[in-house]
Symmetry: C2
Subunit: 324 residues, 2 copies
């Protein structure tokens, strides 16, 4: 493509990533929001700059994407795309020939590593050891008896996108049984895919229940009291999807009654979790602050992922992480 | 083998494991210490029962093994075999036709899982999150910036036995570079093996330095101030070998000065680590209480490993985990 393409970008990156983006877009016309930059989550609802763009990168809101007459390809700087994940947006994007991509490839690796870190921390009793250290406690016999092998256990995955697929790869050497639920299986899954009718039986066998669900109309409160009640007392729940997909009071009750063994939450509802929230000290509940997708090279990786997709767009190749 | 073999066992197992051992040895003559059982680490130096045995299982001391005239096969209930790992014992065992086996196969899986749990806890800042939770802190931006991907990093292993081999398998999906030092490489290693001359250069590249060294005359204080000084400020040290292989004051100084980023110690010298020891609150130092080999099924696994080796012995096949 020889002519200069208008590329709208509403995200401000740290120095190194910004330099890499500028270098990668040297041949193009970069359109910045006319209004002052308001950070990653800001939407430039009626920003005139996007109206000239063929491509957008950042977090432009759905209405702006649809209003921009020349827009053909937009890439979000997040793995989540809740705001765009509804029939009206999908229909309008299809009509105007707009492809929407997420950055799920960028987040799959840290999220999968975070999940395996949490699962292994459970198996090796690391939070208990952390507490012990505060007390200068050396409880070798007790911790040895409580620890268990991940090898051979059963992992149930709610959602089977890029994160779950990478987690499946990381789990391969452990020879665990993996059962997964997904609303739209691609058919190339290497794990046992569950129908929603089969989920209850799978929950009853789960040692580790991993929620990687996106937030949309069908996932709100999906992991509710009824489903939590199917779990074994030895089971642990992990949520790195969205806080709204998990019923917090039901989880709290299950932890307090000993109906389940523990929970690791990287996402909560709301975020940050308020200081007085009962989940902070529910027994066996461990919080990480919506950081599963984080890594020191996050912004550079986002820029590289966009530039690689831009090259695909220019060559007319299929885009990666296309969600609409 | 039709005749009843005398099998000396000085270890008392919990109920389930004891029942499985009794069932497995029904056809044999089980010889118990004549003196009162003194636990796993007790040595029955001059116990008359072992003198009748052809096989021993537990923790009989080296002198007793050599004194027992009919003894052909002894299996330790530990992965470590420090007391037997010296030329005089090796020579005497060879002369009398005694094979000594460890239980390293039993401990390889939990130890490797423990190591990966610690390595991923480092990458995902889990100890920091543990502290944050105490303070009801939600430091998303900071933790995201600090987290890093394990994928593509460099892991240096000191010692390349059963634990390190299993860790190598668990690390395979992460595509890390693994460099290993071993006093007696077998030649079938799938990782880059280092000579002692090459170690210093490898230390300078290590993101994770894993000490799985056994305790013997050549390993005492192996990881000393000079070698620690080769590490990068971003490097983390792990020790699940033996506490004596790592110079504690030198480690403490390296942590306090910021010369290295952190340490995870499952073994210390002495054990338990005394309440006043400076390592308890050295910056970035995390302690687990010599539990890396532990798991809820430990004793049953020890019994099964012994019975499987006993079957090999009876069939004249090579024994597993033979160390002398």
């Amino acid at each position: 493509m020889s002519e200069r393409v208008g590329i709208f970008c509403d995200t401000e990156f740290p120095r190194e990533a910004a330099a890499e983006l500028a270098a990668g877009l040297r041949a193009h016309r970069v359109l910045r929001p006319a209004v002052a930059l308001r950070g990653n989550l800001a939407a430039s609802q009626s920003d005139p700059a996007i109206l000239e763009a063929e491509i957008a990168f950042g977090q432009p809101d759905p209405a702006s994407l649809l209003a921009a007459p020349r827009l053909r390809f937009a890439q979000l700087t997040s793995a989540g795309y809740t705001r765009y994940d509804e029939p009206r947006f999908r229909g309008a994007a299809r009509s105007k020939g707009l492809a929407l991509c997420s950055s799920s490839t960028v987040y799959a690796e840290p999220c999968a590593e975070h999940l395996l870190a949490l699962i292994l921390a459970t198996a090796r009793r690391l939070p208990d050891c952390c507490e012990d250290q505060h007390q200068r406690g050396w409880h070798a016999a007790e911790r040895r008896r409580q620890a268990f092998l991940l090898r051979g256990q059963t992992v149930v995955l709610l959602g089977y996108g890029a994160i779950a697929r990478r987690l499946t790869e990381l789990l391969a050497p452990f020879e665990v049984q993996i059962l997964a639920l997904d609303r739209a299986p691609r058919g190339d899954e290497t794990v046992t895919m569950l129908s929603e009718e089969e989920l209850d039986a799978a929950l009853a066998r789960a040692d580790h229940l991993v929620d990687v669900l996106p937030e949309n109309a069908t996932t709100a409160g999906f992991l509710d009291a009824r489903r939590l009640a199917k779990l074994q007392p030895s089971a642990t729940v992990y949520n790195i999807g969205r806080g709204t997909t998990l019923d917090h009071p039901a989880l709290c009750a299950a932890l307090r009654s000993g109906a389940i063994a523990g929970a690791y939450l990287d996402v909560t509802d709301p975020e940050p979790l308020p200081p007085g929230h009962p989940l902070w000290d529910a027994p066996g509940c461990h919080i990480t602050p919506h950081m599963a997708g984080g890594r020191n090279t996050e912004h550079v990786a986002l820029v590289r992922h966009f530039l690689a997709n831009l090259a695909r767009y220019e060559r007319g190749e299929p885009l990666r992480d296309r969600v609409v």
